[in-house]
Structures are given as C-alpha cells and as structure tokens.
C-alpha cells in the first residue's frame, strides 16, 4: 500500500543526506511505527510521502502508484496527515477544521457534518460541546485530538501521523491509543506513525522501523525486535520498556 524504495533526501544539493537510502513497505491495513531519536529524519520521511518535501532520489508508491505521477494536491487530499506541530487553523472552529478536507473534496454539506460529528465523537470531543470552539479555546491534548480527527474526516485509507499522541496525559493517551487501534483495524487503514515512545510502538504497531541518522537500522514486528535486536541502538531502545516493567514488578513485590 505504501512502498518506499531507496529514498534519499538532501537539503544541501547532495553534500549531506538527512534521509539516506530508506526502503520499507507497509501492507494494506498495517500500522508501521517509525521510531528514532530527534533529528533522525522521521518527519522528513513522512513529508516526502505526501510531497510536502520532494524526494532527492528513489521511488515512493502509494496505493501502487508513483506519487510523482500524481498532482501533489490530489495526493495530499487522499492521505490523512497528523502534523507534528498540529497546525490547526486558528480562525476556524473545531468543526470547520475537521471539515477542511471533505470541503476541499466538495463533499455534500450535511454529509460532511454527519461525518465530523461521528469522528469528533470518536476522538472524545462531542460536537455539541466542542464543535463551535476555536483552537485557542482548547487544551493542548484536545487540539491534538482535533488534529487526528481532521486527518480521518475524509475517510482517507492512508494515514501519516507525526507524534499524534505526544501531548496527552497517560490515561487519555492509553484510551486514545486503544480507540485508534480499533478504528484502524475496523477501517483497515494503512498507517505510518512516528513516535518517540517505544511502548506505544510495541503495543500499536504491526511493524516497527528504527531510524538513526537518516537510515533504517532494523525493521520488523514487535516480537522480532524484542527477541532479535540486531543493533546496539535498537537493543537500548527496547531495554527501556523492559527495564520499566521489571522495575514496576520489583516495586510491587517489595511492599
């Protein structure tokens, strides 16, 4: 469904590469977790998929079509995108923010409204309480949920999410992760989700790709990563949730 073949990105005419030789494949209905340290090129990789950044070399296929053969505007409308900076439109209400893509696609107005109602309900922001608010009247976590709702509103089959649950408290976050996972399964969405949180990746992803310095160190199912990490960096990453779990057990035992 999404396929990246040897993609590279340089911002300085080839002197250095922010993304160097990344290849990966996400099957329909699968969720790929993209994890890696700050500056490793995760956002740049996502942006290249919907052509917010243009590739320096390589090929990207979305739904088996080369993205360079599609108009950027049509491509972007067909892909849901949750931005790292959220990027809600401050002059529009929550409802209009969520309705943005359906309206760009000329959906029927009442259909759009029904869809927005449904999707806002799903992310826990009932339209009657939140629909008419402006982004400045929401908490950071609520804004993030509007961002997720906006990406889902036009029934996109492909979703790119850049740290979508970063600003949420642990309980809301866990709820939303569950809720999102359920939606993703039901609608058979194909997703690439950038995260810093290995636990989140382990619980939500079908495949995890670990990025460092613009390259993918290892890619595999959570189980594969846990059992056969083939890099020190990957090992360190999965040590963190494991160490936490052990520490928790110790705490519980010691009482």
């Amino acid at each position: 469904m999404i396929e990246l073949q040897n993609i590279k990105k340089s911002f300085d005419h080839g002197r250095s590469f922010v993304v160097s030789d990344v290849s990966l494949r996400v099957e329909r209905g699968q969720l790929l977790g993209l994890i890696g340290e700050s500056g490793s090129g995760k956002t740049t990789t996502l942006k290249m998929i919907n052509r917010l950044e243009e590739l320096s070399s390589g090929t990207i296929l979305v739904k088996n079509e080369n993205i360079l053969l599609q108009s950027p505007v049509d491509l972007r409308r067909s892909i849901g995108y949750v931005f790292q900076g959220i990027g809600l439109f401050p002059h529009q209400t929550v409802l209009n923010n969520v309705a943005a893509v359906p309206l760009l696609l000329d959906w029927d107005r009442s259909l759009t409204r029904l869809r927005c109602e449904e999707i806002l309900e799903m992310v826990g922001l009932p339209i009657k309480d939140f629909g008419d608010r402006y982004p400045s009247q929401l908490s950071g976590g609520q804004q993030q949920r509007v961002g997720v709702a906006r990406a889902l509103a036009a029934k996109q089959e492909v979703l790119l999410m850049d740290e979508p649950f970063g600003a949420l408290d642990p309980i809301t976050r866990a709820d939303l992760q569950d809720e999102f996972k359920r939606i993703q399964r039901n609608l058979n969405l194909t997703v690439i989700m950038v995260t810093h949180d290995m636990t989140e990746a382990l619980f939500m992803a079908d495949q995890i790709a670990v990025m460092k310095d613009g390259e993918i160190l290892q890619i595999g199912s959570p189980k594969e990563l846990l059992n056969r990490p083939d890099h020190d960096y990957v090992k360190k990453l999965i040590e963190i949730p494991r160490a936490k779990a052990i520490r928790l057990e110790e705490l519980m035992d010691s009482k």
Binding site: G87, F89, P90, T93
Partner: protein, 506 residues
C-alpha cells in the same frame, strides 16, 4: 452665536462633502491597489524588498512637492484628480506593508498544515493566509485612513475643496476661527472613520463568539450609526452637482482672496453660478487657466515676466505689460483682460526709526551699510531673479539673508530681529506697521501690475468679459492696501474687504 463662526459653519457641508469625497475615493482606490500589491510582494523576497523600498521612498517625498509634481505631470490639471492621485500614493505604504507583514506572520505550522491537507496555493492564500492576515491589514487601512483624512487638507493647494480650505484661508487671513473649525472637522472625520473601521472589524470577528449581548449590541449599534452617517455623507457627496458657469481662481494670500471674492461677487450679480478655487500655487493657477479649469484670476505682470518668460532685465512698466500680454495671449492662448490699477510690487521696507537712524531714504543709501544689515525675504524672494537684479543693480549684499513666512516677516521687522524686509507695496501691513518703503531710483524691481487673466473658453462669453472689463483701472494702490489692511490688520472678513472695494469702485 459668533458671526464669524456662523459664517464658517455655513460652508461646512460643502467642505465636508469635498473632504469626504476625496478621502473615500482615495482610500477605496488605495485599498484596491495596495492589497493585491502586498499579496504580490509577499510571494517572493525578490519582489518584496524593492517594492517596499520604492513605496517607502514615495512616502518620504514632501506632500506639497508630490502634489505639485502630479499637477505638472497632468499637464496643469487641478482639482480632485491630482489630489486623489497623491492621496492614493500615500495610502499605499501602510496598507501594502501591513498586507505583507500580515501574510508573512502566518505561523509556519499552520501554513504547512494548509498545504499538507491538500489546499492549492490559491486556497492557502484565500482560506488561510488572508483571513489570518486581515487584522493586520485592517490596522494598515486604519493608519491609511487617518493619514488620508489629514493629508486631504493639502488638496486645497491644488484646487480640490476640503477642510484645508478653512485652514489655508484662515492662516492667510488670520482667521483663527476658520483654522480651528477646519482642524476640528478634519480631526473628527479621522477619528470617526478610524472608529468605524475598527467597529466593523470587531463585529466581523466576534459575530460567532459568545460576547456579552449588551456589549455586542452597543458596539454594533454605534458602528451602524457611524456607518449611516458616512453613507449619507457619501450619497450626498456623489449626488450630481450643478457645474458652475465659471471658476474664479486665486493664489494663497489675502489680496488674491479679496480680488477673487470681488470677481465672484460681480459675476454672481450678473446671474452666473460661480465657484472659487483659492489658495493655489502660482504655477498651478497659471496652468489651470491655460487648461480652462480656472476661468479668471488675478496675476501680476512681473510674475509672468520673470517666472514664465524667464526675463531678468527690466524695460519699464509699459514694455513689461506689453510683453506679458503677448506671451499670455499668443503663447498660452489666454486673454489679458487688463490691469486693475494697483501694483503689488516688491520693495525694500524698514522701520521708520531705523531708517532715520541710518539716514536711509532710497536703496542707494543702503549700499554703504548693507554689510551690517540683516535682510528678510518672503519664502520665494531670494530665489527669484528680482533678488539677483537688485543685488547687481545696486551691488549690495547683506550680512545675513533670512527667509520667513510673509506674516512672520513683518513681526520680525517690528521686533527688530531684522533691519530690512522685502515687502509688497499693496500689503496692508506696510501701513499698519508704519513702514518706510525705500525708493528704487535705478528701477531694479520689476513692475507688478495686477492684471486679470481669463481662460480661452471663458473669454468667448461677452457678458463675462463685460463684467471683468468694468473693473479695469478701478482699484488704486491705496484702495488695495486698505482692502488688505481690513483683513490682515483689522481682522475683518474677506467679504468685508470685498464690500469696501465695491463701494470704492462705485
């Protein structure tokens, strides 16, 4: 109510209409021009910098110079057109600059999201950038509105009616009531217009938000009220007006106001509908008459001889008159109706006591002491050929040469800040300050006979010409000086001086 104030308030609707028309036309055009310009500039750095630089440079030009340049570029046309062009030029900077600033300040994450969800660049502009930039753009429009209302007062100088008519006439004729009425009127219009735009903006921004209903209603209703006043004013100002039969022009000093008033009064008595365009610059009123925008005004032979014909020699009164008539009629196609009788001649004047002290009777007596004397000239004198001729004829120069507004110049002489001034022979203040006019035995100063210059088109009307000819040779030096004194020294109105001249003529 004070008679003077009453007289001023009678003309308020006319001036209001003129001022509002200028402001609204200029501001609308300014907005229509500047916002697209700003949008275009914001698209790329390579356009933005040079464009904003050019606009800023325009802004630094003195407004009076801009007005004069525009009149010149329009081939001497005066009235609303040059005024509007100048006002539009000045309104571009605040609006275009704020448009650029507003568009540039849209947060980058919002821009990225707009692009990233699939908006075309036009949609990004229309749906996201412009709405977010609107408060900044409106702030620019408000600045432009206040500037435009203020600068519109200068339109008087190019013959467009505005509150500036109060101010310039008032300053020249020492009518502080007129100056005050004009200033307050302009300030009020600026404040109301500013508040109006702010009110509209507030309503648009808050119409969907939960604002306390009483507050919302208050702001909405007062904005609606102001809007209504402006609409009435606008409708009033665009109602077709009857074109006057003739336009009487005039430069910006008392004698000109008085003679223009006299011409208007006489023409009205013959049943004509007359409009006055006063306070115009020398060059402007001349070209406007060539152009048939002005139909008659008071000119001086010496002015045409020196300024227009670029002569520096002085062949004497008759020959100058003859040369000027030929020039005015054959080169510029107007008609010299004739001399009114008085001269408004440059002359050197001193306090009588100072002249006595130095033993000065004529300019020749000044020669040996000139290097100890401070001379003052009006705003143009030392730039005129008369000064060169005077200097060369008598071979004198002064220890200091100062330049003053004519009104201040007399006070400076009276206060002994200067020893000697360039006065006009017909000036009422010569009598009022009891000054000694120095004789000019070597004929250094050009003759300045007051003549009526009529436009080509108006001169075809026999009744019009008959009225003008009836005034030829009717006003002596003493009578003109007295009429000027009534206004400048006694604080009478222009109409008082006109009435005096009418009685003197009959």
């Amino acid at each position: 109510m004070n008679q003077n104030l009453k007289e001023q308030l009678v003309i308020l609707p006319d001036y209001f209409q003129g001022h509002l028309t200028l402001t609204l036309i200029a501001l609308s055009l300014g907005i229509l021009l500047s916002i697209p310009l700003g949008i275009w500039a914001a698209q790329s750095q390579s356009v933005k910098r040079p464009l904003l630089a050019v606009i800023s440079i325009i802004q630094t030009f003195p407004s009076v110079a801009i007005l004069a340049l525009i009149v010149a570029l329009l081939g001497g046309q005066i009235g609303v057109l040059p005024a509007v062009i100048a006002l539009v030029l000045y309104s571009i900077l605040p609006i275009a600059r704020n448009t650029v600033t507003g568009l540039d300040s849209v947060p980058s994450d919002v821009m990225e999201a707009a692009k990233g969800i699939g908006m075309s660049s036009t949609q990004v502009l229309v749906k996201v950038k412009l709405p977010l930039a609107i408060p900044v753009i409106i702030a620019g429009i408000r600045t432009a509105a206040v500037w435009t209302v203020g600068l519109a007062t200068l339109s008087t100088l190019v013959g467009a009616t505005s509150f500036g008519n109060y101010i310039f006439t008032g300053l020249q004729t020492r009518n502080l009531v007129a100056v005050t009425v004009g200033s307050i009127a302009a300030a009020t219009m600026a404040i109301v217009l500013d508040a109006l735009i702010a009110g509209v903006q507030w309503i648009v921004e808050n119409r969907n938000k939960s604002i306390e209903p009483s507050k919302y209603r208050l702001i909405r209703n007062s904005t609606a009220g102001m809007l209504l006043i402006f609409c009435i004013g606008t409708v009033y100002s665009i109602l077709p007006k009857s074109e006057p039969d003739f336009v009487v022009g005039g430069k910006g000093f008392t004698e000109q106001y008085v003679i223009a008033g006299l011409l208007a009064a006489e023409l009205k008595e013959s049943g004509f509908d007359v409009e006055q365009r006063l306070g115009l610059g020398t060059e402007i009123v001349y070209s406007a008459t060539v152009n048939n925008t002005v139909d008659v005004y008071l000119e001086y032979t010496g002015t045409v001889w020196a300024n227009r014909m670029k002569n520096s020699h002085n062949p004497g009164r008759e020959l100058v008159m003859q040369g000027v008539t030929e020039f005015v009629e054959q080169v510029d196609g107007m008609v010299n109706v004739g001399a009114l009788g008085f001269q408004n001649l440059y002359a050197l004047a001193m306090r009588k006591d100072r002249a006595l002290e130095l033993g000065i009777e004529t300019i020749e007596d000044v020669i040996p002491v000139a290097h100890n004397l401070v001379a003052a000239g009006d705003l143009e004198f030392f730039g005129r050929p008369e000064w060169i001729t005077l200097r060369d004829t008598y071979d004198i120069d002064f220890s200091e040469r100062l330049t003053f507004d004519a009104a201040l110049m007399y006070n400076a002489l009276d206060d002994r800040q200067v020893d000697l001034i360039t006065a006009y022979t017909s000036d009422g203040r010569v009598a009022a300050f009891d000054l000694k006019i120095l004789e000019d035995p070597r004929n250094a100063f050009l003759p300045y006979d007051g003549i009526l210059v009529a436009s080509h088109s108006a001169s075809k009307n026999p009744t019009f010409m008959r009225v003008l000819k009836s005034l030829i040779g009717q006003i002596s030096d003493e009578e003109m000086r007295e009429a000027n004194r009534i206004v400048d020294v006694d604080g009478g109105s222009i109409m008082d001086a006109v009435a005096y001249l009418q009685s003197a003529i009959d």
